[in-house]
Symmetry: D2
Subunit: 134 residues, 4 copies
Amino acid sequence: MRAHEMISTHPHVRGNTNEALIRCIEECYSCAQICTSCADACLGEDMVQQLTQCIRLNLDCADVCTATGSVATRRTGSNEEVIRRMLEACATACRLCGDECERHASMHEHCRICAESCRRCEQACQEALRSMAA
Amino acid sequence: MRAHEMISTHPHVRGNTNEALIRCIEECYSCAQICTSCADACLGEDMVQQLTQCIRLNLDCADVCTATGSVATRRTGSNEEVIRRMLEACATACRLCGDECERHASMHEHCRICAESCRRCEQACQEALRSMAA
Amino acid sequence: MRAHEMISTHPHVRGNTNEALIRCIEECYSCAQICTSCADACLGEDMVQQLTQCIRLNLDCADVCTATGSVATRRTGSNEEVIRRMLEACATACRLCGDECERHASMHEHCRICAESCRRCEQACQEALRSMAA
Amino acid sequence: MRAHEMISTHPHVRGNTNEALIRCIEECYSCAQICTSCADACLGEDMVQQLTQCIRLNLDCADVCTATGSVATRRTGSNEEVIRRMLEACATACRLCGDECERHASMHEHCRICAESCRRCEQACQEALRSMAA
């Protein structure tokens, strides 16, 4: 992804990028794809009946990551309170989805990769939150 | 919209619908459409230069409302903490977008309607939050 | 939904609304909610194993309806070719999802309602396409 | 992004990935982020009045890319006709957005990067379409 290159060209940003927030944006888009893929892979497993809670958390997490990625991308004007709320919601969605995927990680490789992605995205959201408080 | 009829048929819901949450879902979908439309109408105004903060808040609000509507629709398994966080984020996005639209309401009919929609959606989110605490 | 009232206030639209397209926008947002809800209700059924194709089509249809609703809402400048392509994609997604849901309609009320919604949305897309050809 | 690693773990895919489609998925998610960013950067320019058509195409392209990325990610069951339609819609949205951004590329670095991204995504959609015809 080229979020950094792109955001650094914004007329109000030039030379003043928030690296933690940009890394978070990239994790959000990637985690949205991975959660969409994990929901679908779980759905294709013979034991789908045991994975319904996992699919539900995957779908929620994908929706929240997508919205967070878009909202955090914007730099015109300001909407810090909403970015903050979405980063909190996204960290929560990633934590819960990561916990659930971890339970199935030894059995399903897609859950193992998804748990990792959720951890990274959760941390990126936390670091972006800290960077905005500063 | 037929969110009520639809959600009442969920195998885990039957006869036990949360009316406040369902009303909130309908407001979220409607507000997403209205905010998308208001951003676009502002963009078409001759004075677009003075409406850039409004457009930004409209776009953020549309993204948050869409994600909140999807997440709040799901009933399989549970993810209450994420629904709660999203309702909070959505109430915030609607409050700020509603405030900004209200400033332009006397000049632009689309901002007047959008401000109203944001107020209704904000209140519906607050009521859904209260209904979940109970 | 208030898509008609909203779009009629657009500075480039005033007094010249395309009723078929506006009805289609409302059907798209409603069908997105209903397909999201049907995927989730199918996931909650004991026989989820037999509903995986239905869930997959529901999720695809929800994504396509959401994007079509947004794209069709915009009136600033023009992007007719993309609206047309999305209306075609949406009519296809709704037709296939509606066919699959119909197979489960006698057993699952959510599939019956979803099949109806998909039919209405498919027709609304076709009528919007015809209205744009004129 | 890790779309390839993720999709290769799907129970119905193992050892049989469509490389062209996976590359397309990654371009779709990246292009969605870049178009969202370009719309926002255009909105922040002093000459926003001259960039309204560009913003409109950016927003449409972001919506179409996001939906195409999700739909193309799924492998459970099948929905080839919808994937095909979305790849066509996405190629069209990227072509038109790329053409418009190119007009502003010498003046705005964000439009230059966005035009490049749209070209890459358009080509990836075309190649994915060819790979599915085979």
